[in-house]
Each structure stands twice: as structure tokens, then as C-alpha cells.
């Protein structure tokens, strides 16, 4: 096939079917719905959800994970464009990080020292580290599928950002079940679960997102 024949072939296929942003939006909605059903169908919501919902710790837990999910999704979308700089959304990651540090500091100041260890360990640390990645699977696959429409300069980095976003979504969903509310717990076990998903995203992205 000569190059001008290829060009004719390409121009017949001119209309753009799917843009990266649209694909991401579809993937997020589908992924969140699947994981929410999974959460409610297996372990269920926390039984005393309404009564605890107003406490600052629960609000922080959900707010932090949602903020991280939002920033990481933005970052993934930006990395998916070959000509866009990802520096600003990457700097935005400092926002959830700073809020986490602040919450931990407040928690340490408020709690007596004897209670630190118990709050940090919580009741279900191992389950949390296991279940956040489980809840992240559907969003992760969805975001990676959407990112295939993208053209990232660094496929591994793009996968890691997708994993970070998916992990944070998993965390935000798990927060509706999780009875451990201390920021000490969130900073350790949530972060660990989310980082596992981000690493997984890196490994998959390095292969899947090449173009």
C-alpha cells in the first residue's frame, strides 16, 4: 500500500468516534456502579451509618478519598494527552496529602497517647487492605480501557495514575462500610490499599497502554 493510498483509507474513517474524556466518564460510572453493588451485595453498608455520618472523622475519611479520586482522575486524563503537561494536576495531589497530614496531626493532638496504637490498628486493618483493591478492580479496568483511547508519553505512569484514581474510588466506597474512622487508620491502611492498586495499574499500564 502506498502512503497516499493509506491517506485515502484514513480519511474515509474521518469522524472521531470516541474522545478520551467521554470514554473516561463512561468507565467511571460503570466501574463505580459495579463496585457499589459488590460492596452492598457482600459486606453491606455500615449498620449505624446515619448516626455516625456527621462525625468529623467519617466526613474526613470520605472527603479525603473522594478528593484523591478526583485529582488522580484529572491527572490520568491529562497524562493520556501527549501534548498536555501533567505538572499542575500532579501538584494538586499535594492537596489530599496535606489534608491527610493535617488530619493525622489533629488526631494525635486530640487523642491521649495510650489510645494511639488502638486507633492506628483499628478493628479490620487486614480486611481493609484486601477489600479496597477488590473494590478498585472494576474502576481500574474501566479507566485502563478508557485510557487505551489516549496517547500517553509514559504508559507506566499513565497506568499508575489510573491505579491511583481507581484505588481512591475503592477507598471512597469502602468507607461506607468501614467501622474504623481514625485518620491514623486511614493514613496507614487505606493508603496501603490504594498504593497496591496504583502499583498494579503501573504494571498493567506499562504493557496495555503502549501505542
Amino acid at each position: 500500500m502506498k502512503t497516499d493510498e493509506l491517506i485515502s483509507l484514513l480519511s474515509v474513517d474521518a469522524p472521531v468516534r470516541r474522545r478520551l474524556g467521554q470514554a473516561l466518564a463512561v468507565a467511571l460510572v460503570v466501574g463505580v456502579v459495579i463496585s457499589a453493588v459488590l460492596l452492598i451485595g457482600t459486606v453491606g453498608l455500615r449498620h449505624n451509618l446515619v448516626s455516625v455520618f456527621e462525625t468529623a472523622r467519617v466526613l474526613f475519611k470520605i472527603g479525603f478519598t473522594l478528593l484523591l479520586a478526583g485529582v488522580a482522575t484529572l491527572l490520568a486524563a491529562r497524562i493520556g494527552r501527549p501534548d498536555a503537561s501533567a505538572r499542575r494536576p500532579a501538584l494538586l495531589l499535594l492537596l489530599p496529602l496535606a489534608s491527610l497530614v493535617a488530619a493525622v496531626a489533629v488526631e494525635l493532638a486530640v487523642l491521649p497517647e495510650e489510645a494511639w496504637a488502638a486507633s492506628w490498628e483499628g478493628a479490620h486493618a487486614a480486611f481493609c487492605v484486601f477489600f479496597i483493591p477488590v473494590l478498585s478492580l472494576a474502576p481500574l479496568l474501566g479507566i485502563l480501557w478508557a485510557m487505551r483511547e489516549g496517547a500517553p508519553r509514559d504508559p507506566g505512569l499513565a497506568g499508575a495514575a489510573a491505579g491511583l484514581a481507581a484505588g481512591a474510588i475503592g477507598g471512597a466506597l469502602y468507607a461506607w462500610h468501614c467501622p474504623d474512622d481514625s485518620p491514623l487508620f486511614v493514613a496507614t491502611w487505606y493508603t496501603l490499599g490504594i498504593l497496591i492498586v496504583a502499583s498494579l495499574g503501573y504494571l498493567i499500564g506499562r504493557r496495555l497502554l503502549r501505542w
Binding site: 474522545r19 494527552r81 503502549r210 501505542w211
Partner: protein, 171 residues
């Protein structure tokens, strides 16, 4: 780029000479046969086409285009680099092969088209080699126009994947 076939054709034709210049220069740097340059041009064009949804239309096209080209050139360099340096005899042969560029690239790409699945292959043949329109092709293959368009889009994706795996395995 909003589905205007003729404008899109003009755009692709317009950028091709520049792509060819870059590809030839890159081949010379790598000591690759000059006949490979046209393969690189076609691979870059396919990438531009398949990734055009990532261009934000409110931004200038220049940086986007050069980012795509740079990525593809790095890619080809990496794939060839893995197999070490090229002996000087080959370079001499390449210089001799220069004039045959046109014949060889046609052969190479046609082998790739051969590896597509039947409906995709027939569609690509009809439209690119025989210059048929979508409507004509659809009538000939007894498919709807929509189905032809979808199959063509899949064929282009498959072709880009074949380009990648082909170069990776053979060299």
C-alpha cells in the same frame, strides 16, 4: 477533523512530506534501510489517525502532532536498538537499495494487509488499492455502510498493531 473527509485528507497529505523528511533522517541516524522510512511514515500516520481523539481542539495542533511523531520515532529507535548495531556492509546495501523504496514499501504493507481477517482485508483492498467509495464497497460485500465503516476502523487498529508486532519480531 470533525468528520470533514476532504479537509482531513488535505491535512494528512500536507503533513506527510515533513514526516517523510523526519523519518529519512531518523533512518540514516540509526543505520536502518532507507526503505524503512516509508514504513515509519505510514506507522506515524496511523498513530495520528487512531489517536486524533486526544487532540484538544482548543489547543494548537503543532505540539500535539510533534508529540505523536516523537513518541513513534522513539518507539522505532527502541525496537531496533534492542538488536544492536548494524554492520557496515548493510549500510552499503541500503544505499544501493535506495531507489527501490517505492516497490518495497508497497510489498511490505501489502503483506500486512494480507494478515487481516477477510471482511476487513477486502474492505481495505477495495478502498485503498482500488479506490472504491464506502457505498460501493458496501454494495459489493453486501454489508451496510455503517458496518463497512466500523470494520474499516477496526482494520486500521489491527493494521497499527501488526506494524508494531511485525517490526518487533523481524528485526
Amino acid at each position: 477533523m470533525d468528520g470533514d473527509t476532504q479537509a482531513y485528507h488535505r491535512f494528512l497529505t500536507g503533513v506527510t512530506p515533513q514526516l517523510r523528511l523526519l523519518a529519512v533522517r531518523r533512518c540514516r541516524e540509526m543505520g536502518a534501510p532507507a526503505s524503512d522510512a516509508e514504513d515509519i511514515v505510514q506507522e506515524v500516520l496511523l498513530a495520528v489517525h487512531l489517536k486524533r481523539g486526544t487532540w484538544d481542539m482548543s489547543r494548537p495542533i503543532g505540539p500535539w502532532l510533534s508529540a505523536i511523531v516523537r513518541n513513534k520515532l522513539i518507539d522505532t529507535l527502541r525496537r531496533r536498538g534492542r538488536h544492536g548495531s548494524v554492520p557496515i556492509e548493510d549500510v552499503m546495501e541500503i544505499l544501493a537499495a535506495d531507489e527501490r523504496t517505492d516497490a518495497t514499501d508497497r510489498l511490505d504493507a501489502e503483506q500486512l494487509v494480507d494478515r487481516l481477517k477477510p471482511p476487513q482485508r477486502d474492505i481495505v483492498r477495495a478502498i485503498s488499492l482500488e479506490g472504491a467509495g464506502v457505498k460501493e464497497t458496501a454494495e459489493r460485500l453486501k454489508m451496510s455502510e455503517g458496518a463497512v465503516r466500523v470494520a474499516l476502523h477496526r482494520a486500521l487498529k489491527a493494521l497499527a498493531a501488526l506494524y508494531r508486532s511485525d517490526v518487533r519480531e523481524d528485526r
